[in-house]
Amino acid sequence: MKSMYAAFAAIVVITVAAWFTLNELGMSSGERATGPAVRLGDGEG
């Protein structure tokens, strides 16, 4: 059963790593779909 538990642990690691990496690469929808000319919640409005 060790392989099964190792795979489940790998799922957790891959999931968190995917989330972290994609965010670091600027792939969040917030970053992909806006530009400098778009003001979203900058608190200056």
Binding site: S3, M4, A7, A10, I11, T15, V16, R32, A33, A37
Partner: protein, 404 residues
């Protein structure tokens, strides 16, 4: 042959939305009095939910050569009419300038959203839900009629290694992530009608957000598991003539004491393998398209390729649309993703049943990796004989090995 079959399945599935749009059309009304523009009859037909041609309106967008006059008092658009501007927006003819930089941001009016929404909330959820319930019902019936498939012969107390640790790792990586993806996908599809009435909007909002996070990020583990399983097992899943014998006897699933010979994987397992690979690749492709919105459109090209075969036209659906707005690409990706996922869930439910309660000794193969020798003899006799010849399994009882 496989390609043709795939094309057929693709055509049938992908043409569902197109077919759904093609309501029976009454004869076109006489529009000579309006110069081709919509008539009162058109308006009434639209109100009755009937299909009305948009050709006139699509062609009646703002003439690019006409410079709008300076706006007179109370006339914000000068020489251009409001109707023309709205038609420009609706049919993606307007020169829209936006500050954001997304590929879909210039589309201000999306003309094809309602049929997608209705299909997603209606037939997709209904037929998909029934498919899963019917699968569970059939499995329960099978268990009732056939009972658990037991090891018929005398157990030997000896085991043979069925799957190496890396094989089990790949299996559970794919299996664990698939179950998470299936559950979170079902929460997303059925949450509004099924969960909000039970748990309330606030709690569901939290659950839905968590589901989305899990679904988006667990997907990578599934794709890795899929690639690993394919590399590890493709050699053992090439169809051969033993599969025909196995299938001819129904795999021995429906009669006690019947055990058709099989290699490492029997024909039923090979079918599951290829379904998981093909559907897994397809669900991954549409999933990536959804994961990176508007950046990986694939349906316009797919439709063009299918149209090239002439199949949709031959089936009477007409050519599939080859010009799709960015949002339409996402809508097709979502529908296809869900349809493939439902089929996969049904297949995997049957696989889980046979690998656990449905067959004695089957879970050990993926649990510890060691299976009872008699189980191997009954379900994978050719594979066991090969192991014995190679000295990787205990020799057949009654035949002394040279070492003995």
């Amino acid at each position: 042959m496989a390609r043709l079959l795939l094309t057929l399945v693709l055509t049938l599935f992908l043409s569902l939305p197109a077919a759904a749009q093609e309501a029976p059309q009454a004869p076109e009304p006489d529009r000579s009095a309006t110069g081709g523009a919509p008539t009162l009859e058109d308006i009434l037909r639209r109100q009755r939910g009937e299909e009305v041609s948009n050709d006139y309106r699509r062609d009646s967008t703002t003439d690019a050569q006409t410079t709008p006059q300076a706006a007179p008092a109370l006339g914000p658009l000068g020489g251009a009419s409001d109707s023309e501007v709205w038609r420009d927006l609706r049919f993606n003819q307007a020169d829209v300038k936006v500050s954001s930089r997304g590929p879909a941001d210039r589309v201000l009016v999306q003309d094809a959203g309602m049929w997608w929404l209705q299909l997603r909330q209606g037939p997709l959820a209904t037929y998909g839900g029934w498919l899963l319930l019917a699968t569970l019902g059939l499995l329960a019936l099978f268990l009732l009629l056939r009972g658990r498939i037991r090891i018929d012969g005398q157990k030997t107390g000896r085991t043979v290694t069925r799957f190496q640790p890396v094989e089990r790792f790949a299996h559970w990586l794919m299996a664990g992530s698939f179950i998470l993806l299936a559950l979170t996908g079902l929460i997303t599809l059925f949450g509004r009608p099924g969960l909000i009435p039970v748990m309330g909007k606030e709690a569901y909002a939290t659950l839905a957000q968590g589901s989305k996070w899990v679904h988006n990020n667990v997907a990578w583990a599934f794709m890795l598991g899929l690639v690993m399983a394919f590399v590890l097992w493709v050699v053992h899943n090439i169809p051969d003539k033993t599969d025909l014998k196995w299938l001819a006897q129904g795999g021995g699933l429906f009669s006690k004491g019947k055990h058709p010979p099989a290699k490492k994987f029997n024909a039923g397992q090979k079918i599951i393998f290829w379904l998981v690979v093909l559907l897994g690749v397809s669900v991954s492709a549409s999933g990536l398209s959804l994961l990176f919105p508007f950046e990986l459109p694939m349906f316009a090209k797919t439709f063009a390729a299918i149209n090239e075969t002439g199949l949709p036209q031959a089936l009477g659906y007409g050519a599939l649309p080859e010009q799709l707005a960015p949002h339409e690409e996402m809508q097709y990706a979502q529908l296809w993703h869900a349809i493939v996922a439902f089929v996969m869930m049904a297949v995997i439910l049957a696989h889980i049943y046979l690998g656990s309660i449905g067959m004695e000794g089957a879970f050990d193969a993926m649990g510890s990796g060691e299976v009872e020798e008699q189980w191997a003899r009954e379900h994978h006799s050719l594979w066991l004989e090969k192991l014995q010849e190679e000295g990787e399994a205990p020799p057949r009882r009654g035949t002394a090995s040279p070492a003995e």
